[in-house]
């Protein structure tokens, strides 16, 4: 029993402490712009579990999922290609550094001119921001492949796709996963920003509308929603990570134990 309860206690401890501080600090607050926890929770249910769930939350989540998936796949594929080829790396690196420094939100008006006010435009914004951590980490991961492993592969005649599949990807995987971890919150942020302009639905759109209408508790409930989505995404990520990198964590545990 204790074994189950103590991790739960640790996980919930800090949030509970923070909420209690928040509750006490806002007990006497009369400023209508200050959110209060009880009010916020009541609004949260009323605002998001109804028409808005299908109308705003689902489309946002879909764009986020599509955008980050494309970013991750694109980042890994390009990253492996560039990481394996020294010439390609020298050729592309300056360009990557240039595009990486461009903030995707400033590209929204331009993308809207080219792609229109479509999901494609919003997904492109997400991809343009979320691809970099995956891409650059993959390149580094592939470059850092152990030379003894590479020599061994070569002497056993493992080459081409087989070498990528059984040597390069597994050895780069810890860094690829680190890149994915960084790209997820970027994806969520850009999902919100891409819906703040040229939009008629979505989480970002709703939050700006609430803000303009001075519907303060509703606005904060939207921000709470974003936080919960972020939390859920990171939990999902941890699950995937523990599967994909099981061998790696096992290896580390062994190294630490010895």
């Amino acid at each position: 029993m204790r074994k189950i309860l103590s991790p739960i206690g640790f996980a919930l401890g800090l949030p509970i402490v923070l909420i209690v501080i928040w509750y006490v600090a806002t007990l006497g607050a009369t400023n209508p712009f200050v959110p209060k926890p009880v009010e916020l929770v009541q609004e949260f249910g009323a605002v998001w579990f109804g028409d808005r769930f299908v109308g705003d939350v689902v489309p946002s989540l879909w764009r986020f999922a599509a955008g980050t998936t494309i970013a991750i796949v694109l980042g890994i594929v390009l990253g492996i290609a560039v990481g394996l080829n020294r010439g390609l790396r020298a050729f592309t690196e300056p360009v990557f550094e240039f595009f990486r420094a461009l903030p995707p939100p400033v590209l929204i008006p331009i993308l809207a001119l080219v792609l229109g006010r479509t999901d494609g435009m919003r997904i492109s914004v997400i991809v343009l921001g979320a691809v970099w951590p995956v891409l650059l980490n993959t390149i580094e991961g592939v470059r850092a492949t152990d030379s003894v492993q590479t020599e061994t592969s070569r002497s056993y005649g493992i080459r081409g796709w087989n070498r990528v599949r059984f040597q390069v990807i597994p050895s780069a995987m810890p860094q690829i996963i680190a890149g994915v971890r960084q790209s997820l919150p970027v994806g969520i942020i850009l999902m919100v920003i891409s819906e703040m302009l040229y939009a008629t639905a979505g989480l970002g759109y709703s939050i700006t509308q609430f803000q303009r209408q001075f519907a303060v508790p509703e606005m904060w409930s939207g921000i709470l929603m974003l936080g919960l989505i972020g939390y859920a995404v990171s939990m999902l990520f941890k699950l995937v990570e523990s599967r994909v990198l099981r061998w790696y964590h096992g290896l580390k545990d062994l190294e630490n134990a010895s």
Partner: protein, 333 residues
């Protein structure tokens, strides 16, 4: 040895730089201190007031008043803060960080219905009742959209949804016998509106100056469908000045000072179009040739409460506010 010399050199240069910097910043501030001292007795009596402005052309009139010393003459030491948008300014006024704000009246009414103690304290800038108004709905000439009811089923861009743009357009479409509920509104920032209209991301855009002048200059591409303010609420205020209940009820002297100084400022700006234009240039960063060409709102601190009453009724009718606020309180006497 070499390193040591180098460090010393760097130190000397840095010290010289500091010295220069302190000199250069010292002289102008010293000068202004001298200027304030000349004011002598007046300096002590000035009431400090902070006002929030948007960096748009009509708001420059307040800056004009500061530059011309009108606020000082009226016993006000005015601090101008610029805000990014009306919705961002309101909380600052509500909490007392700003004493007054200059913004659109509909936001103030909306805030008031959400139990935020906001009061409209004076007029500021008004839409023109006849002739060429200062904002308009613009369409592509090739589409041949001719009347408000033609907007049925089309996409119209405004800078923000549920504000004055879509409110007056709804009313204009209905008055023309159309069905406003079939109009889809989309948010596009003013500077992007015309390019997005040309790209087909909207069928009509609601734009103020200076973008309106830009559209009028190219009649082959853009045509003006109409002026929604004139169709729905002729002479509606585009901006008013507002304050919190704390100032209106608790500091009536401050309110009185502000109203007098603002009235004098706006009158002066109306009289001196050239000087006002120069302030618009420096305040908004718009080039001189643009400023000269744009149409300007009617500026006056006088406010007919009836127009706010009408605006409030219209906002409630279209569901922009859930209920009408208590206008006897919101419009400060």
């Amino acid at each position: 040895m070499i390193t040591r010399t180098r460090i010393t050199t760097v130190g000397v240069i840095a010290a010289a730089g500091l010295l220069l910097a302190s000199c250069s910043s010292g002289s102008p501030s010293g000068g202004s201190e001298g200027g304030a001292a000349e004011g002598g007795a007046g300096t002590e009596e000035l009431t400090p007031i902070t006002v929030g402005l948007l960096t748009i052309a009509p708001a420059a009139a307040v800056q004009y008043g500061v530059d011309q010393g009108i606020f000082e003459e009226h016993g006000i030491d005015l601090t101008v803060e610029t805000a990014q948008g009306g919705a961002a300014m309101l909380p600052s006024v509500s909490t007392g960080a700003y004493d007054f704000g200059v913004g659109n009246p509909l936001s103030v009414l909306t805030a008031a219905t959400q139990d935020i103690d906001m009061r409209i304290v004076s007029g500021y800038s008004f839409s023109l009742e006849e002739g060429d108004d200062i904002n308009a709905v613009v369409t592509r000439t090739e589409d041949g959209i001719e009347s408000w009811s033609d907007l049925e089923g089309l996409t119209v861009a405004t800078n923000a949804i549920k504000t004055q743009g879509d409110l007056t357009i709804n009313e204009a479409v209905e008055l023309d016998g159309g069905d406003p509920s079939s109009v889809e509104y989309v948010e596009i920032p003013f500077p992007d509106a015309l390019p997005q209209l040309e790209a087909g991301n909207a069928d009509a855009v609601w734009i103020p100056e200076p973008f309106l002048s830009q559209a009028l200059a190219d009649p082959d591409t853009y045509s003006v469908l109409g002026y929604p303010n004139q169709a729905a609420l002729p002479g509606v205020p585009t901006m008013v000045t507002f304050s919190s209940g704390a100032v209106v009820d608790g500091e009536p002297e401050k309110l009185e000072l502000w109203r007098e100084a603002l009235a004098a400022t706006l009158d002066a700006a109306n009289e001196d179009r050239e000087g006002y234009n120069a302030t618009i240039e420096s305040f908004t960063g718009m080039p001189a040739e643009v400023v000269e060409g744009i149409g300007l709102e009617r500026l006056t601190a006088d406010l007919d409460p009836q127009v706010i009453t009408d605006l409030s009724a219209m906002a409630a009718k279209w569901g922009f506010i859930e209920s009408e606020p208590d206008l006897d309180v919101v419009i400060a006497p």
